[in-house]
C-alpha cells in the first residue's frame, strides 16, 4: 500500500530524514518511535504529501507521490481522501464554527446527501463520545475534547490510512485509555494505523509493528512492537525511555 524507497529530506542543508526505506501493507498498525528531532513528524508529513522528499520515491497504492502528481487537483483530493492526518496540535486542525460543521466538512465535500452527512456526523460524535459538544465552538474546548473532535473530523471522511502525530500528548489518563480502545477498534475494522508516539504505557496491544528512528534521522529498527518495547536496553541506549 505504502512504499518508501531511499528517501532523504533536507531543509537548509540539514537532514531531517536520511535514506530510509519502508513498506507498509494495508491493515497494519505501526508505531513510529524515536527521540525528539529524529524525523518522526517529518516522516508523517511526507506520508501526507505536505512536504516532498529531496531524493527517493514515495509510492502510494502503486502511484508515485510527487509535487507534480499532487498538482493534479483530482489526484490530490483522491489521495487526501484515502489518508487522514491527525495533527499533534489539534488547535491547528479545527477551523469551523461548530463541532458538527467541523465533522461534516469532509462528507459535505464528498457530495454526500445531507442525510448521509448527518448519519456520519452522529456516528462519529457517538464513537468519540462527544455528542454533547455538537453545537459548541471548537476553539473553546479542552485539549482532550479538541483531540476527540480532530479525530472525528478525520474519521468522517472514512480514510483507509489514519496517521496520528503524538495523539496522546497532554491528555488525561481516561482519554488516553479511550484512544487506545479506539485505535484498536479502527485497526480491527481494517484501517491502516500509523502513529508517532512516546506514550508506551497507554498503547499496549494497539500496534503490531514498531519503526524506530535514531537521532541520526535513520531507521535503526523495524520489528514486532512487543519485541522492541521489551528491549529496554535498546530503548535506553537510543534515548527512547
Amino acid at each position: 500500500m505504502i512504499e518508501i524507497n531511499n528517501i532523504t529530506f533536507e531543509y537548509n542543508g540539514l537532514k531531517a530524514i536520511d535514506n530510509i526505506s519502508i513498506k507498509i501493507e494495508k491493515g497494519e498498525s505501526i508505531a513510529i518511535i524515536g527521540p525528539n528531532g529524529s524525523g518522526k513528524s517529518t516522516f508523517l508529513k511526507i506520508l501526507n504529501a505536505l512536504i516532498f522528499p529531496s531524493s527517493g520515491d514515495y509510492i502510494f497504492n502503486g502511484e508515485k507521490i510527487t509535487p507534480s502528481s499532487m498538482n493534479n487537483q483530482i489526484f490530490s483530493k483522491k489521495f487526501h481522501k484515502k489518508i487522514g492526518f491527525v495533527f499533534q496540535n489539534s488547535d491547528s486542525q479545527l477551523f469551523c464554527s461548530s463541532v458538527y460543521d467541523e465533522i461534516a466538512f469532509g462528507p459535505r465535500q464528498m457530495g454526500l446527501s445531507e442525510i448521509d452527512v448527518k448519519r456520519r456526523c452522529e456516528d462519529c460524535l457517538r464513537l468519540l463520545n462527544i455528542e454533547d459538544l455538537k453545537d459548541r465552538v471548537p476553539f473553546n474546548l479542552s485539549g482532550g475534547e479538541k483531540k476527540r473532535v480532530a479525530i472525528a473530523c478525520v474519521l468522517s471522511s472514512n480514510p483507509e490510512v489514519i496517521v496520528l502525530d503524538e495523539p496522546m500528548n497532554g491528555l488525561d489518563p481516561r482519554t488516553k485509555r479511550f484512544f487506545r480502545e479506539l485505535l484498536i477498534k479502527l485497526n480491527q475494522s481494517g484501517k491502516t494505523v500509523i502513529c508517532a508516539t512516546h506514550d508506551f504505557e497507554y498503547v499496549k496491544d494497539v500496534f503490531k509493528r514498531a519503526i524506530v528512528f535514531s537521532k541520526n534521522h535513520r531507521i535503526i529498527r523495524d520489528d514486532h512492537y512487543d519485541k522492541v518495547i521489551n528491549d529496554s536496553v535498546f530503548l535506553f541506549e537510543n534515548n527512547i525511555i
Binding site: 501526507n48 487522514g84 488547535d91 466538512f105
Partner: protein, 262 residues
Amino acid sequence: MDWLFKEDDYVPVKDNSRYLGKNIFIFSEIISKIINGVNLRQSNSILSANPLMRFILLISTIILLSLSTKVTFVLLTDVLIVFTVLAIVKNNHILKAAFTFASFTLIMLIPSILNGNKLNAIIIVLKVFGDICSVSILTSTTPWNDIIKVLKFFLVPDIFIFVLENTLRFIYLLSNISFETLCALKLRSIGKNNKKYTNMSSIIGNMFLKSKNMSEEMYYAMECRGFTGEYEIKTRFHFSIADLLFATLIVVVFIFYFTMGR
C-alpha cells in the same frame, strides 16, 4: 456505523483549491525567513559582528549618498557596496533586487534624460542602487531582533523595543499556526468546497481569538515573573575583528565623501 468499515467508492470532482497552496507557500516563506534570520549568526563569522556597526554603515551610506551630487563618489560607494555584498552574502538576490529597482528608476527617468538631464539621472539611478544594496545587506545579514535592539543605541524607549520584539515573535508564532491550519484545510479538502470564503474567514477569526489568548497568557506569565510595566533591555554588543571591517568601511565611505563627494 457500517460506512466506516468499508471503503468509499469515491471519485472527487474538480474544484479549484490552488489558493490554499499559494497561501501555504506565503506562510512557509515568512517562517523560513525568520528562522533563517535567527540562524544567520551561526552561519558566517563576519555576520556575528556587532549589528550596530552594520546599522551605522547603513545610515551613514544612505545619508552621504543622498547628500552628494558628485557622480565619482556615488559610483565609488556603489562599487564598495557591491564588493561588500559579494564578500559577505552567498547568493546574489541582493544585487538582483537592486538592479531591478535601479532599472525601474531608470525607466521613470527616461523623460528627464530626453530633456538633457543625463548626469542627474545617472546619479539618481546609482543612488537608488546603492541604497537598496545597503538596506538589503543589513536585512539579509542581521536577525530582525538584533536590528530592533540596535534601536536602543538611538535612545528609542525600551518598552517600544519590547513591543517590536514581541510583534516579531507573534508574527512567527501566528504564521506557524496559520501554516498548520491551512495545511489541515488542504488535507481535508477532498472534494468540492462551496464555502471557501467562509472557511478562510473562520481561520482568520480563529487566529484573532488565538492571538488574543496568547497575548493574555503572555501577560499573565510576565506578571507572575514580576513584571510591573517597566522593561529594561540590556544590549551586549562587543567589538570584534569582524566589527573592524565594518568600521573601516564606514571610515572609507566618509573619506570618499569628504574628498570627492561634496
